[in-house]
């Protein structure tokens, strides 16, 4: 264990919960939050009375169509009469929620924190994609009517060009994750598909096809995060938060390296340093890299230093990242298979690692013994990286 003199309390996750991820939920956003939060509390064997503080994360208010979504969700997140914080760093929010919960506990301010991520993307019509119009520079970019998939397509193309990966190699990520999701009861898009299916699905923005992209999803996920004293009382197998990192790269995406995610690499180095990890490619047993697009998982595997730059796609072909492989990635099914309710998706990834590290993942449990795990998320105007390292 690495000791950090500046941290008052060691921090552990003791419970996790999530709703089924689905396309159009009848549940209100609050009800989704409640369902996940209740499940996390039940798993921890705690009740709302044991919760000191609440951290809520949710992406733009314009998805759910309710302004001040933090205050709105507070009710279903058990934040009644408690200190509540809402965090938001775009798509990076999911992992930023446990990061924020960590400093609530590590500082000694709160003993036990309920950390909830929620997103209901179905209210915005005709498509939540329109919400993203307002993330662009109003003078330089917006008149061109940009679309998020533009960036992804360029990144994907750059990765393919620089690393010599073919579309078929990248599509394998989608195949793997959707297959992994078959064992996840909460999954929205679990399927046995082939590389061919991906290549033949609708071409959206070259070279991105429909099956390269994660779906639009409603859902929530929650964690119970507490200090060492409480953790030792409530469970025999706490999962420790050993490292965390978050960074912002260049705001101007024209100036960004597209083939390698530097925003993530900086955050990963911060997290590994805190966790005392020097060779992540050897020391990490299971990972949940953020995979809103299939190439993005490869990108993030490299950014997390689990593979050398430009080599992730080669290892993927060998089955290195399969559930029974040497370094399983996205054993949950990832965003491609389980779904992508922005903030909840990141929490789902951390929850999956929590279950993996406690050997509670059931059919999804990876074959090898696990000791340390890493998850990341990515967001803002595609320049925010958030990383969390867990250990059992």
């Amino acid at each position: 264990m690495v000791t950090n003199l500046f941290v008052k309390d060691r921090v552990a996750i003791v419970g996790a919960g999530m709703t089924t991820f689905m396309r159009r939920a009848l549940e209100t956003p609050r009800e989704l939050a409640w369902e996940a939060a209740k499940m996390a509390l039940d798993q921890a064997g705690l009740t709302l009375k044991d919760i000191d503080c609440v951290v809520i994360g949710s992406a733009p208010d314009t998805f759910d169509g309710v302004h001040m979504k933090g205050e709105y969700l507070a009710d279903g997140s058990g934040a009644f009469n408690k200190p509540m914080t809402r965090v938001y760093v775009g798509g990076g929010t999911g992992v930023f929620i446990p990061v924020s919960a960590w400093w609530h506990v590590a500082s000694g301010l709160c003993r036990t924190v309920l950390a909830v991520g929620e997103e209901k993307m179905s209210p915005a019509h005709p498509h939540p994609q329109y919400v993203f119009r307002y993330i662009w520079d109003p003078i330089l970019h917006r008149p061109l009517e940009p679309n998020l998939i533009w960036i992804f397509a360029m990144e994907m193309r750059r990765y393919m060009a620089k690393c010599g990966a073919k579309k078929e190699d990248i599509a394998l990520v989608s195949v793997k994750n959707k297959r992994n999701a078959l064992d996840n009861p909460a999954a929205q898009l679990a399927a046995n598909i082939t590389v061919d299916d991906v290549l033949k699905s609708e071409l959206l923005v070259w070279p991105v096809n429909e099956l390269d992209i994660s779906p639009v999803t409603d859902g929530a996920a929650a964690l119970v995060i507490t200090n060492e004293n409480v953790a030792r009382q409530v469970t025999d197998s706490p999962v420790w938060i050993e490292g965390l990192g978050f960074t912002l790269e260049n705001q101007h995406w024209e100036n960004r390296e597209l083939a390698y995610p530097r925003y993530l690499n900086y955050a990963a180095r911060m997290a590994y340093k805190m966790a005392g990890i020097e060779r992540p490619w050897k020391e990490i047993d299971v990972a949940e890299p953020y995979d809103p697009f299939d190439y993005k998982e490869l990108h993030h595997i490299e950014g997390l230093m689990l593979a050398r730059p430009c080599e992730a796609w080669k290892l993927l072909k060998e089955g290195y990242f399969d559930r029974d492989g040497e370094l399983p990635t996205s054993p949950s099914g990832g965003l491609l298979g389980v779904g992508n309710p922005i903030a909840a998706a990141g929490v789902m990834k951390v929850a999956e690692l929590f279950w993996q590290l406690r050997y509670e993942a059931g059919k999804r449990q990876v074959k090898k013994p696990v000791h340390r795990a890493v998850a990341n998320a990515w967001g803002d105007l595609m320049q925010a990286g958030t990383v969390i390292v867990l250990g059992n």
Partner: protein, 152 residues
């Protein structure tokens, strides 16, 4: 520098923008769905929690996160607090001021916010009110199915 004071809009370059999304489609939720059905029948529902408290409108979960039981709210309803609105959002003087009140049924621990149709001089907290529903064919399963509350 404030351009709307110094220049006319014709003298600056600007980009008008459209709305972010065309519309939002909200769902009522699990207990909200039950409330919607009840409103169509001219009834109001609440939720009874383990500690005996009844909340209106019903929620799927109680403040302690346990699940409660749906109950029908029968009243009588009483005015808790009220205010009188004299201008609309655009600053136009309203011909008939609108009374907004929080109206609590005796068999629940909280109240609903709604419009009260009563003469201003008759208003006093604690007075008994009753919900007036819209005609059955105009009800949509939303809170405005109760057209207003009025004195008994």
């Amino acid at each position: 520098m404030s351009w709307d004071k110094d220049w006319r809009t014709s003298e600056i370059i600007f980009w008008p923008e459209r709305e972010e999304v065309d519309k939002y489609v909200y769902t009522p939720g699990i207990s909200g769905q039950e409330l919607a059905k009840a409103l169509m029948d001219g009834r109001v529902l609440g939720i009874k929690c383990k500690d005996g408290q009844v909340y209106v409108p019903p929620k799927t979960y109680c403040p302690d996160f346990s699940q409660g039981e749906l109950v029908e709210i029968r009243g009588p309803w009483r005015l808790l607090h009220y205010t009188v609105v004299y201008e609309d959002l655009y600053g136009n003087r309203l011909q008939n001021p609108i009374v907004i009140g929080i109206i609590k049924p005796d068999d629940a621990s909280n109240g609903l916010i709604h419009i009260v149709n009563a003469e201003l001089e008759r208003l006093r907290p604690g007075m008994e009110l009753k919900p007036v529903f819209k005609p059955k064919d105009q009800r949509k399963g939303i809170i405005t199915d109760i057209d207003h509350f009025e004195p008994v």
